[in-house]
Symmetry: C2
Amino acid sequence: MGHPIYLDCDTGIDDSLAIAYLMAHPDVDLVGVGTVFGNIDAHRAARNTLDVLALGGHDHVPVAVGAEKPLAGNWDGGPAHIHGANGVGDVELPRSPREPESTAVELLLRLAREHRGRLRILAIGPLTNLARALDAEPDLPGLVESVVVMGGAAKAPGNVTPVAEANIVNDPEAADRVLSAPWPLTLVTLDVTMEHVLEEPDRAALLDADRPLPRALGQMLDVYFAFYVESFGRRCAPLHDPLAAAVAAAGATPVMAPAVPVVVDATDGPGRGQTICDLRGERVGHPPRPGARCRVVLSVDAPFAPHLLELLTRTP
Amino acid sequence: MGHPIYLDCDTGIDDSLAIAYLMAHPDVDLVGVGTVFGNIDAHRAARNTLDVLALGGHDHVPVAVGAEKPLAGNWDGGPAHIHGANGVGDVELPRSPREPESTAVELLLRLAREHRGRLRILAIGPLTNLARALDAEPDLPGLVESVVVMGGAAKAPGNVTPVAEANIVNDPEAADRVLSAPWPLTLVTLDVTMEHVLEEPDRAALLDADRPLPRALGQMLDVYFAFYVESFGRRCAPLHDPLAAAVAAAGATPVMAPAVPVVVDATDGPGRGQTICDLRGERVGHPPRPGARCRVVLSVDAPFAPHLLELLTRTP
């Protein structure tokens, strides 16, 4: 029996990789998935999630639709040039007959009570659902074990603005709420996710697999690889969401991961959406900071791509 | 005949090192110094400057007092725990009989016209005087050759807040004005200045010198070394201002120094005073960005401390 994980996501190509990783990991019990706007709208994200789960033989996992827009303001639609018009690289996945339930907040709260003290929350999209769950149940932090968030950038540049990462800038008010709640939170930043990438031979290995899910992932990655040429100078895919999944599943171990004060810039200024991490102690090994609950992951112990690829392509 | 440099400073221990460096550099003609609040108040900074200049045999260099507070808001006084109560590490320098003139803006504008097209501005304090000079003479950018600023942090942590460096956060409105003016500007950030430090043997060499200026600098550095134990875990002194002086004097050559868009956070949020540098092109060699006039110095070509020490201690 694996460790219970609730996944909050905006599926999404790298979200699909993360879901596939969680399904394949022997120590994970994926007990529910809530969706949110971000890479695609929350309803489409739920459809993609159901279809990816079905392709991976996980038709039992409940999927619930969550927030369609951020706490403040509106949402302009997902980045079709990154994730395709349908969120999964314009690949037509076999349609699961299941329909999502509603709402992600209800699903999360139900699972938190059901797995009291043991549930890990893994959030790889904007943090709107988690912020709403905190509003609905202020005791939520005491009900769960921990939270892992893919989001933010500490020393690395942002990917939406010079300093802001997509999941955080898509709802800075929610991120502020979630990062200041009293739960142990691990922030898997662009500092580490940009250092772990799938390359063309990896994509070829997915396409050559003997099961439909890795083949579909290999197909999805075509548009994602094309987008990252601008950043990397070559076709490849940084492993944002799957690396966060691996941190939640203990399949990747943070090495440089100081617990430091983190503040989200929720102004309307040029820093909006930045995760301001206080790394001023970096030359002296980040002495303990009372009250600093947020671990900022800057590196992990081993190359992640081979581990991911092995889990995704091995015959069950 | 050296290259004409106008220095704008808040003298300050590392400012004193910078002034000594400029006096010692054979290719520099230090044609004037304006002072500003920051490490100490602007009047005391002028007194310190006159005294350091006298100790270095440069009694001919005009010194003018500038801004006593930032464009917006007030100034809370200098950090006595870093620079001593008198700005120069509580060392009593021999008092120069000269008095400063007024104002720094007038001095700068006069020098810009006198050395039309050739003047380099080196600013190692808050940018208030430069901003006011731009207001007084909008054509100033066309009158000078270039501007070198010690200030800001790109990927490195700030030294006042997690993201803000002292010179910029002391007057973000002025910095915003100066960094967006149409002149070629080089920003010598904490990313590079924190990597070049004087150590105890270097301070001992200053104290052992046969002239009063290096001896006084060695004495001043005592309090400065003590302050930096918290950041470095040992007594030492990062060379913020002297390294900027060396960049202005071509005594240190920037290596990683991309010309990228830079915006100053002038909000009242947690990012106030940050120099937001767009380093998103770092993996592909920072392709040219039209309109990006600001070079952000992240590294220089050689260890700077030995060069500085050699200039400060050699017998003329």
